[in-house]
Symmetry: C2
Subunit: 340 residues, 2 copies
């Protein structure tokens, strides 16, 4: 049976959402896997006592330290070897768990994952992506901040790893890759982007990626490709900009609706119905439905979630971890990269 270590101390609402999410996953899946909650017993145990965990394949592992959400990643990982983050990953390293899930400090999780699990053979740099909505589903953007100053070879590996993830874990038969640039023409962008374009064509010819050429910012929400490839200095602002849209527009929308109700142009009843519809519209922007994303390229499974993760998001992150293991994503990555 697959065992998933869950960082009970990571995230803005830890350990509450983590405990609830883990219990939810086990109940919903009918104990399809085993979960080890990793964290401070004095904080986690009382919450576990509140839950009915009878018959659940749930264990607890005490880790006395906690890495804070805003601690410097490098320092925290070095100095807090007994943190839930490092200890949870260590469980994976020594084979007691098959995957680690956390909504904690992202920088620390990336650093600790790399340090404890190491890289898959031939991987130059691990990468993480994020989901963006499109009219018929989702687009994944890689890299969203794990890497800056990427060399063309790094970006090509991201494309290869992302393609495998989408193919096996997300059941996208032949995921297309677009290189995010300032124009669609091959001649656009920096020398690094031109070189990346050329290398991606080569990888396409070898059947390693389904390269669709350069794409532009407007193609992301249009869903022109399944994967959008860019350096983290581009992907990170894009992701955070995207995440800020619902809040910004909700403010504008409330104002507009308020005016209409005040001037009698819209019945209050309709305004309420509309308000809910407006929120529903943004469900597709919500990372909760996916929970988190794997750090692709490490020698193990480390699922990274948003600090604000709800119990539902934690539950879905656990499913993401299960997928990574069941679909043997890392084995497929190693295979494709070995054949360079």
């Amino acid at each position: 049976m697959v065992t998933i270590a869950v960082d009970a101390m990571g995230g803005d609402y830890a350990p509450k959402n983590e405990v609830e999410g883990a219990v939810m996953a086990l109940k919903e899946s009918g104990n399809r896997f085993k979960i080890v909650l990793v964290g401070q017993s004095e904080k986690v145990q009382p919450l576990l006592d509140e839950q009915d965990t009878t018959g659940l394949s749930l264990e607890f592992f005490h880790a006395p330290e906690v890495i804070g959400m805003h601690e410097s990643a490098a320092t925290a990982v070095k100095t807090k070897q007994n943190s839930s983050m490092v200890q949870g990953l260590a469980l994976c390293k020594k084979g007691s768990a098959n995957a680690f899930v956390s909504a904690g400090n992202t920088g620390a999780q990336m650093a600790a994952s790399l340090l404890v699990l190491g890289r898959l053979e031939k991987v130059m740099r691990p990468t993480i992506g994020a989901y963006f909505p499109n009219p018929s589903g989702v687009t994944m953007v890689f890299d969203i901040g794990a890497n800056v100053d990427c060399k063309p070879e790094h970006l090509v590996q991201f494309a290869e790893m992302a393609s495998i993830y989408l193919k096996y874990a997300q059941k996208e038969a032949n995921p297309s890759v677009g290189l995010l640039n300032i124009g669609a023409e091959e001649s656009k962008g920096t020398d690094a982007l031109k070189q990346t374009h050329k290398l991606l064509r080569g990888a396409h010819e070898k059947g390693k990626v389904n390269f669709a050429g350069n794409i532009e910012g407007g193609d992301v929400l249009a869903g022109k490709t399944n994967i959008v490839l860019c350096d983290g200095v581009v992907g990170n602002p894009l992701l955070k900009f995207g995440e800020s849209i619902p809040h910004f527009l909700s403010g504008l929308f409330k104002q507009e609706i308020g005016k209409l109700v005040k001037t009698g142009k819209l019945p209050m009843e309709s305004a309420e119905v509309i308000g809910k519809a407006f929120k529903g519209m943004f469900a597709s922007f919500d990372d909760e439905q996916f929970g988190g994303v794997p750090l692709l390229g490490v020698n193990g499974v480390s699922i990274i979630g948003h600090g604000r993760s709800s119990a539902l998001a934690i539950k879905n992150m656990i499913y993401r971890a299960e997928e990574m293991i069941e679909k043997r994503v890392n084995e497929h990555i190693a295979e494709v990269l070995a054949d360079a």
Copy 2:
């Protein structure tokens, strides 16, 4: 009197919108400036004949060639010396006009402006920005695609020029500058971003920019700073992503509303009122209200508009040109850069 040359052949709806916009500007402003429409007489003259131009300070200058919207910029500028674009800028160069306005091929306009007008003294690279809405007004992002592979010194100059533009032309007393990065901490990002951060601190101490530190993608729509500074490879995707939001969300919104009407939860009447409000909400995303943006750093005034510019947008671009001249933006830029 200020003379503004307007490219009658630039833009997706040229020369119709260009002619209408020019006439609109002169009528609305009461002939506050002179406009020279530059383009093919056989195309422009019939449209002028349709308008009542009696008493307007409007002239026409024949330019037999047209640079297409999708032509390669470098080639077009070299081979089409008799195009409305090159000829309009030449009018500025020889002093027959004080500014040039175009909704044509942006790449060609940047190249031709640089070639014909040259740079202001000490300017390393000209830059263009774009407006993004925020809850209380607008934020300008520089650079949005005129430059890639920017060195820290380039970015600092963009910040200086943008600050002067906002201060003098947009009446923003002490515009703040945020450096778009993958995190707020000084230690974040590439070496180039760290160095830019350092140089901006220096420029801040000298009173040349009001530097607010690193900002993140979510700070753009929040309006954390008046100016957002980044390389064109970051700014361009961000702009085009932003521009794609209204279309994407309108699709989603229509679906949601359609469902509510169909299930009887929302009266058709309310749906129509709401539809209009939804469109109104996106007015703040519309570049029409500004028309266009100046190419900052060239030795003259070249206002760049969107290909899809309406007559209203053209009119507003003409006002932008007038502002650049009246507020002596270039003189202020030269002054600040001279004092390095």
